[in-house]
């Protein structure tokens, strides 16, 4: 399964990102994009999977320090 994930960032001015990954994101995990580290606080599956693709939305917040 390929996970197409849209990351929305709260508490910051980051534009967010959409990218494909092989692992499903989970709440509490940390993720890096655009040179910054974020903590995932919510994962939503709003669109059902199509073929080999799962579509997820993950809300995250910047990791301080």
């Amino acid at each position: 399964m390929i996970y197409q994930v849209s990351y929305v960032v709260i508490g910051g001015k980051h534009a967010g990102t959409i990218m494909n990954q092989e692992e499903r994101p989970e709440v509490g995990e940390r993720v890096e994009f655009a040179g910054e580290t974020f903590e995932i606080i919510e994962v939503l599956e709003i669109i059902p999977p199509r073929g080999d693709f799962a579509y997820l939305h993950a809300t995250c917040k910047p990791v301080e320090g």
């Binding site: 929305v8 990102t17 959409i18 994009f33």
Partner: protein, 147 residues
Amino acid sequence: MVSRDLLKQVSIFSGLSDEQLMRIANLCREVTHSKGDIIVREKESSSDLYIIREGTVEVALGTPSMPGPMPIIHLGKGQIFGEVALVDRGLRSATVNAMTDNTVLYAIGRDDFIKLCDEDTHIGYIVMGNIAADLSFKLRHYNLAWR
């Protein structure tokens, strides 16, 4: 030559057979950009659909109150852009620039792609449905960003 296995990792081609993926691969041109390169510019006319093979791009919109384009999203490997102009034949809806060196893209010309869809309507049906789903996914991203 673009590998069909690579195209299998792109959601808009989900549901196509190996033979159909080869027909898509034959349309792809590989282009490489350096960090900061502007790939498409808002309100300009161009007609390619782009698939991100490697790297990250920034999508930005011009606003009346700001001097430069405002970033609205970053797109990474496996994502597409340019699909809006492919669907509606309008001007570019945003400026897209490369955020990383060695940003590798596959470009597909609109006319070539539409011709292929006319020749093989199953490809057209599958890919257009997937593009609609991709646009829906992006719209939902923007909705969630405004919560």
